[in-house]
Amino acid sequence: MKRPPVVSAAIILGFVLLALLADVVSPGDPYEQTLRARFTPPAWEAHGSWTHPLGTDRLGRDLLSRIIFGARVSLAAGVVTVLLAGFIGAGVGLVAGYHRGRVGAILMRVTDATLAFPIILLALILAVTVGPSFTNVVIAIAVILWARYARVIHGEVLALMEREFIAQARVIGCSAGRIIVVHLLPNTLNTLIVLLTLQVGYVIIVEASLSFLGAGIPPPAPAWGSMVAEGRDVITTAWWVSFFPGLAILLVVLAFNLFGDWLRDVLDPKLRQQ
């Protein structure tokens, strides 16, 4: 058994607390512009000051405050998207696995077609179609992401369907709905939980990429991806504007992935190959 990932768990918990308590712990207002203090370097650099520990951006906004409030955006986007996609994907996988005939074949065709679609491309089109906003980013990613859950859950259900207890449930006259919800779903929950955790990091990266490309959470909301984009042109003179939001993404995603890996080893070792 692997050691519990204390550091990862602490990082996740830390960012969750920052996101929840942003109003209390943030040193300043993430939207307040102080043009005279624009491009203030981090406190430890020459000309830095502890009023802005991580420095300020082009509009003189406090970077640390923006990163703290940005945690809300990233974590919420990650968790909500994954839950939505997991809900749809598990539903499709369960139904397709139970009805192996034409219904199953059609559902899995749609799943495969969705899987073949480059996720960022579609998310970009959708985000531009319906306009960039938090809700639209979540929908845009979930519309593709569900297929991954459907594939894996479908595989699990196919295996479960061969088992004795499903045959018995059928013999005593359980309805399809009851077999799916009461007998199949609970047996796929471990897999589902592991997949959900492992995908939070991925979704945070996709959301950040979209925001970076200008198709994600619109400004002036503090989203980590668009913060990196804002600092892109001034990277040679004010490296901190891009650097720290990117570091925040790296930390959170790394923590979620390592935590997910551990969870998989504990709950569902056979998922390893996937």
Binding site: D112, I205, V253, L254
Partner: protein, 309 residues
């Protein structure tokens, strides 16, 4: 075998039809392109004329069939923004994307293969730990950020390599590495775990017992079977590479399909969006078909039940 390939071929075509439909509907939903190309003072009549000229006045299903028929013949219409045939833009951009993708894939394989195998063989050593760190970082580093940081450090401060454009072989290194980073991490991780499993299997023990040297056991006996899951995922990694290219090409000002897609989407250039996404989808589906066929060649078990979960 023939039946398996035929089934997969039909599935691929069905996938493409479905995708083309989705692309068509989505591209039509990105708002009225005429508001972008016509001047503010354009009259209703100007709008009607332009709509007729671009074929946007036809019923949707007619527009779709026209689109598919022409696309199959390589005619993707005229770019609304560049006012040039889309196929010209594709011809111009596709080669540089393919060149970058091929370079990146080659580098990824060259790094991921030895590292993945050695990490499994020397499990628990510093090399294995290093490989684990690379793998963990590969899946957690945001591509666009890596690109920017590399541009600042390698191209800016150290001035070792050029940052934007594709004028010389040196221009390939930074975007190629940025693009391949994720694939390196993923492939290596996959190869490591699959090697570990194979090295523990009975036939490897038999080979050892019969006195085969360790290098022969690892590189000849074990690697062949450890490759099976790697081949299965090759299609997935290819799709990831294509997607990541949009971000990488945008960051490095690389004149390829990815940046073309980004430019087209921000300008609501319908014909270009359709063409780029469709061509990308055809490439991804074709690669997946080839990979599945390869897979069936390597692993006969798969041919027995084509509807593997």
């Amino acid at each position: 075998m023939a039946r398996f390939l035929l089934t997969r071929l039909i599935q691929s075509v069905a996938t493409l039809v479905l995708l083309s439909l989705v692309i068509f509907v989505l591209a039509r939903a990105t708002g009225d392109p005429l508001t972008l190309i016509l001047p503010m003072v354009a009259t209703e009549e100007d709008f009607a004329n332009a709509r007729r000229y671009l074929g946007l006045d036809q019923p949707l299903h007619v527009q779709y069939l026209m689109f598919v028929g022409k696309a199959a013949a390589g005619d993707f219409g005229t770019s609304i923004r560049a006012r040039r045939p889309v196929i010209e833009l594709l011809r111009q951009r596709l080669p540089s994307s393919l060149a970058l993708g091929a370079f990146s894939m080659a580098v990824s394989l060259l790094i991921a293969f030895p590292l993945g195998v050695l990490a499994a063989v020397r499990k628990g050593t510093a090399l294995d730990t290093g490989a684990k760190i690379v793998a963990a970082l590969g899946q957690a580093l945001p591509t666009f950020w890596v690109g920017i940081v590399l541009i600042e450090i390698v191209a800016g401060r150290l001035q070792w390599l050029p940052a934007g454009g594709n004028d010389s072989p040196a221009h390939y290194i930074l975007p190629g590495f940025t693009l391949g980073w994720f694939v390196i991490a993923g492939l290596m991780r996959l190869l490591r775990s699959s090697m570990l499993e194979v090295l523990d299997s009975d036939y490897v023990k038999t080979a050892r017992a019969k006195g085969a040297g360790e290098p022969a056991v690892v590189w000849r006996h074990a690697l062949k079977n450890a490759l099976i899951p790697v081949v299965t995922f090759a299609g997935v990694y290819f799709a990831i590479l294509v997607t990541t290219a949009i971000v990488v090409e945008t960051v490095f000002a690389w004149p390829g399909m990815g940046r073309l897609a980004y430019e087209a989407i921000t300008a609501r250039d319908f014909p270009v969006i359709q063409a780029v996404v469709l061509v990308t989808a055809v490439i991804v589906v074709a690669v997946n078909l080839v990979v599945d066929s390869l897979y069936a060649c390597i692993d006969p078990r798969i041919r027995i039940d084509p509807r593997r979960p």
